[in-house]
Symmetry: C2
Subunit: 395 residues, 2 copies
């Protein structure tokens, strides 16, 4: 009889992605599995200087409790930067600092969805969002993606037929795991549909500033005139993920409930990490820093696409992302991504099976996700070669 | 029609305690309202030294993602210290690092309770826990406390009559807001009842190491032989709250679900803050540090009790806490704590109305909470004098 778990958690299992993450302690293993930014991009020296000044100036400022909304100067800088640079957030919007982007997703789910309500999302999508949605006992309906992002005709049908749709969760730019980017026309249609059906869009944008080719496509939040779009942002991929600093930009009618949910969850994000990011934005040029990161990531992506072209070619469909951290490989003939990943693991190359990202939980989804931000160019080359060898066993 | 909030959040309002916290920017106001530890107790110099070494040694270790369970050395040190010093946690228990004690409460609620289930707790109790319980649409039943803690006869009746009781939430030592400590005999009875009814006890222990008089009473978790007690701990009151580092100690059968819930909420607690606390435990004597804090707080408590004796005397019942941060004053003749706090506020002394801590939400509860950790001795003297003056208007 012991223990009784809540119904919402009874069937939840640990994220296979994060379990893989834990298993990767063997240094001889090549990981194409992570979602981590490259430590080469961390501005460690600059952060160390800011930190030293913070301790010298007034440590009590960050050792004492803070307020749930977040550290006011960081809120202001985030609001200003996102509005001025990307048109994200207007006069009716407010910013709350979250403990990473994941918390932003969690808070929105808590505030907007009841158990049994429906969330629409890309299929495949971010495993952390899927687990979060499941953990609220919310119904998940996946909408297919192609190389231009979510299929908006399918979205429209779902909005018309599914019951109690409360949220559209989307990563429109450099989507995780597919790497694809939604076209502007589709973004506009998604927004118009959200307004028509009075459904909130949660636009998750952890990677959108990591663009290696092509032109910026306006964020869905920048099209928002009615408060139907919540933007979930993060400093994880721009500064450092271990600090866990993200934010939500949402209509002021939504924000009070989000703040209460945040209070209940962790009272506030650590003041230290907020002040550190604020100090970085104050004293350094984050855009120049991002440009440096882009040089590193562009080379890594190009190595991976080149390896995929040479070793896999047209034997499987893989995406050609203009940014972000991931390439998605759709496997031919319904080959199980899980089985393929078991094969590559035996050869010390770890990828994430596509099933992890499947809204319906299909463990044998015919796809795998390949990360190019963490491995070295040599590891990417060897890793893709091993993936190709294992794939060849089926073909 | 816009926006649709979830049912669980529709009626939730911001915590009045935290709202007061925000309003306290006027430096001429005396606050007896906070729950903050004194900044005089923060080991800022030591933390600054540890931080500088962390940046010099290997910043990537804390700038990169970590694992959801927490930073392994901090887990080990926490487990060892709590087991060796207090008998908290045995061979069947595991530790997870949380983003403060509040998150520990949230995770336990998410994992163990369904909407409509019942949580039993002290009446009055911690407003952060009450709001958290409400945010899961869980039914709250308050059990009265006297100067020896929760009334266990009333607890037994509630366990026999209330439906779907899944959790007993208790702060047995230096309870917030009442300041009272549960006797060992009551702790044992509570544990035995929990086992009999197969209900989990969440023992919240943020203050129990802050003892100024009397002898340590074994924690409920130290009596646990069956896994029915989860201990929620925090470094907020022992090191610094702004860092948001707490922990849960729970049976290994419970922990996997708690870890998943944590993954969904913020992936992991910032690695920096965890390493900082770990470095403090590694390089400094936290027990000597706590002893220093006790000297400060003992003096503050004594000033408050002396002021209460002189200014209020037997015109109201106030508790005489052996530790923690709070005195609770029960108002005679059903005087509304809310009304009294409005009166004191007009004279620039802020206290928290007892209604904030009322499980049933009675805003006019006849009590107020008085904090002695933050104000100076002079502020305590003046503050209590003002409270007494306002109270005298009724008597």
């Amino acid at each position: 009889m012991y223990p009784h778990f809540s119904d919402r958690m009874t069937n939840m299992q640990p994220s296979s992605v994060r379990e893989i993450f834990k298993a990767l302690s063997d240094p001889s293993v090549i990981s194409l599995a992570g979602g981590n930014p490259s430590p080469l991009t961390f501005p460690a020296r600059e952060l160390g200087e800011i930190s030293a000044r913070m301790y010298a100036d007034n440590a009590t400022a960050f050792l004492q409790y803070g307020i749930s909304e977040g550290y006011a100067p960081l809120i202001e800088k985030t609001k200003f930067r996102m509005a001025n640079k990307f048109g994200i957030g207007g006069a009716d919007d407010e910013v709350i600092i979250t403990s990473g982007g994941e918390q932003g997703i969690d808070l929105v789910l808590k505030v907007l969805t009841n158990e049994g309500d429906t969330v629409l999302c890309e299929d495949p999508t971010f495993v952390g969002a899927l687990n979060d949605i499941r953990s609220y006992a919310t119904n998940i309906v996946g909408i297919p993606v192609d190389d231009d992002g979510m299929d908006i005709d399918a979205l429209e049908r779902a909005l018309e037929t599914e019951k109690n749709v409360k949220l559209i969760y989307t990563i429109p730019t450099f989507q995780n795991p597919s790497g694809v980017t939604m076209s502007l026309e589709r973004r506009q249609r998604m927004y118009d549909l959200a307004v028509k059906h009075n459904v909130i869009i949660l636009e998750d944008g952890p990677y959108f500033e990591l663009r290696y080719s092509g032109k910026h496509i306006p964020n869905i939040k920048s099209l928002d005139k009615t408060g139907h779009v919540i933007f979930c942002g993060s400093y994880s991929k721009l500064v450092a993920p271990g600090l866990r600093v993200g934010y939500l930009i949402a209509d002021k009618r939504l924000m009070p409930k989000i703040v209460i949910a945040k209070q209940c969850q962790d009272v506030h994000t650590p003041v230290y990490t907020q002040m550190l990011i604020d100090g970085y934005l104050e004293n350094y040029d984050i855009d120049a820093h991002i440009a440096d990161s882009l040089r590193i990531y562009t080379a890594q992506r190009d190595v991976m696409l080149s390896a995929l072209d040479r070793h896999i070619g047209n034997r499987a469909h893989f995406t050609r992302p203009d940014g972000g951290l991931f390439v998605w490989c759709t496997l031919p003939n319904g080959i199980s991504g899980r089985e393929l990943c078991v094969k590559t693991s035996a050869k010390k190359v770890v990828c994430v099976p596509g099933g992890s990202f499947d809204p319906s939980g299909d463990e044998d989804k015919a796809g795998i996700r390949l990360n190019f931000s963490m491995p070295t160019p040599e590891q990417i080359e060897t890793g893709i070669q091993v993936v190709a060898e294992c794939l060849a066993e089926y073909l």
